[in-house]
Symmetry: C2
Subunit: 399 residues, 2 copies
């Protein structure tokens, strides 16, 4: 680059938050895994076989025939009212009564995280997160420059007794994924849910329950949500990405009206509203009970894929490698012997056309380097076996 | 509300930026204008008659039949590559060569504003805006707590000679709408564009050219964009909202690669990507030259609507009321005699079922209270006459 080029491309001053921004390791890995020869356990992508494309096509056609203006014009920031009502009714189970006035439709669940950061987090605010937690949530909240506080966890997930006054002092929110957590695949047991709901009832900040995977429990026996236990004290995030299709980018936040109102104001400034058309497609597909027959099919598919992964791990992994047995969701969390750095392992694996996500980026601080996340839903059982065998060989060589 | 209710609804602490958030006056007005009996000159909504619903229906059908996975799966944060390439080619006119690597697809143009705020603005950063300017931009940037600096304008728009070193010191961005500005309807003359482009070439911050209305010049004789004059120094925002349909929420940012890369990182944390499906619909509709026949129809429609508004104003308004004669776009900017507060006028007008937007909220500071914005594209000529006559009567009573 010569002088005139330097002059032509000025280095504009960026905001402090932008200077700290870094691209996710997942993102860089995904670029490699676009090569068709790579067996990728890295993606958090749902299986395309589960997308109800024909139902979507029929829905899109009906909507643009019957009410094109509704689908193509600007619409309310809160979202499409019939969809908000559908969400409210679906969550009004047990003793909980959820109102449509609590529901804000978001451009995917990721936007819900951005809006919560906007509305709750000031620079330096303590934000309580699981150890480890969803990398995308860390990226999203980080734009608002929080001070992350890691909460104690064990093999069952978050340990509610660890939420001491010292640890939680001044927090602006607590972020948890009780169902089939990303990255660990863990499901929080009922007693811990009850304890966390009790904690939420007296906490001076919201407990955020992020639940993209809740419908994907293999046995079809969901545990109650935190929302159902303490409806006025929980902010619940849901999504159609894992039960319908992520490419539509339709999710939602259920929050008490006070916070809901602020989230709506923030969303108005952020993207005015989620596309009218995609919201209507989702509503048109789900309104007559489609998910009641569709979700069991997705569950069965994911259960079989998970079984293939667990079998492959048991057959191939050497002594000293351990993993959990997910009861739902898309991920297995693998622990290697201390001293094996999964970031370095990844480089070797990619050279042999196998990809996964190293565990370290999922920790807000004090990363553990001997962990990795395996996603199993988009890979055929034969390729799962092949990919796990390759990984096992690489690990054996390092023990 | 009794004690137990107060206990049940905790007042969670919000971020400083959220505390400052207020709902837009436009938003509150739009609620009133949903009543069918109201003649609304308030909305910035494009005319539904211009939405190519049948083309969209055919496009949606083809996409979900031929490549449902592409439309329904997660996709790249940067956007759908063929659409990015289409945008780059469309802007590569005259001497300018725009690269697809400069184009980021956004969830409407509003998201472009949010991303620019995220990446460029720190609390207290000076941000240069027109006097008045687009209210939605003020709302969007405000979340990042800038210090607004109003630039001098006259009846032709922004006055480039007013951009003195004193005024622009330390600015993080300059925000301008050269074509048929919201709210004034003004188009910046060629010589001022040239002066502004020269300014951009030596400024240590980006000049942001927001251009949602550029295609809507009634005579079909667009003036060159700032982007075409200084392609490496301008950040250009575009949108399909006004030329196709806003409900799809598809816009774009064209920026030098350095800034583009930061904007992509910010967008990843904000909503991962704009819906794959709506991006593909837009591309499918525009790729074979559809806009070349469609835009002239929208122009003709809006030109006729504007003429009806100008005629009605000339017929009805008393001495002392003035307005501009837009050469394109959706808005007329009206100046009333000093001392008439258009916010109070609005209350009276709404009581008589006529709505508009008062001018005050469009000023970053020192609001002018005797201005108002009239949008004419969604109201029939007969209703334009009726609504303007009602307004004129109210104004006459106050002179």
């Amino acid at each position: 680059m010569d002088q005139s080029d330097l002059k032509a491309a000025p280095a504009w001053q960026l905001s402090e938050r932008a200077i700290k921004l870094t691209s996710s390791a997942i993102r860089e890995i995904l670029k490699v895994t676009e090569r068709p020869e790579v067996i990728s356990f890295a993606g958090g992508l749902p299986a395309p076989a589960s997308f109800p494309a024909e139902e979507m096509r029929a829905a899109a056609d009906r909507i643009l025939r019957d009410n094109p203006t509704g689908a193509l014009q600007y619409s309310a920031t809160e979202g499409y009212l019939p969809l908000r009502e559908w969400v409210a009714e679906r969550y009004s189970v047990g003793g909980a009564k959820i109102r449509a006035s609590q529901v804000l439709i978001t451009t995917g669940s990721q936007q819900a995280l951005d809006l919560l950061g906007k509305v709750l987090v000031s620079p330096g605010s303590p934000v309580l997160v699981e150890t480890p937690t969803y990398l995308g949530a860390l990226q999203s909240f980080s734009l608002y420059e929080p001070n992350y506080v890691q909460m104690p966890t064990d093999d069952l997930g978050l340990v509610p007794e660890g939420l001491t006054p010292e640890l939680t002092a001044g927090a602006r929110l607590l972020y948890a994924i009780p169902n089939f957590q990303n990255p660990t695949g863990r499901r929080l047991p009922l007693e811990r849910r009850q304890a966390l709901a009790r904690f939420a009832q007296s906490a001076p900040f919201p407990v955020v329950e992020d639940d993209p995977y809740g419908a994907l429990d293999y046995a079809g026996q969901p545990l109650p949500t935190l929302l159902s236990m303490a409806p006025e004290h929980i902010v619940h995030l849901g999504s159609f990405s894992k039960v319908l299709a992520p490419g539509l980018r339709v999710g939602y936040i259920i929050a008490p009206e006070d916070l809901h109102f602020k989230l709506v104001q923030a969303k108005q400034a952020t993207d005015l509203h989620t596309p009218s058309f995609t919201q209507r497609i989702v509503h048109e597909v789900v309104k007559d009970g489609f998910l009641d027959t569709h979700i069991p099919k997705v569950r069965a598919l994911y259960r079989d894929q998970c079984a293939a992964m667990l079998d492959a791990l048991a057959r191939n992994m050497p002594e000293g490698v351990s993993w959990n047995r997910p009861e739902g969701g898309m991920f297995v969390w693998v622990t290697l012997p201390e001293g094996i750095d999964t970031m370095k392992l990844l480089e070797q694996a990619v050279a042999q056309n196998v990809a996964f996500v190293p565990g370290a980026p999922f920790f807000a601080s004090e990363p553990q380097h001997n962990k990795l996340r395996l996603s199993f839903v988009t890979v055929s059982p034969a390729k799962i076996e092949e990919g796990v065998a390759t990984l096992a060989k690489l690990i054996r060589a390092r023990i």
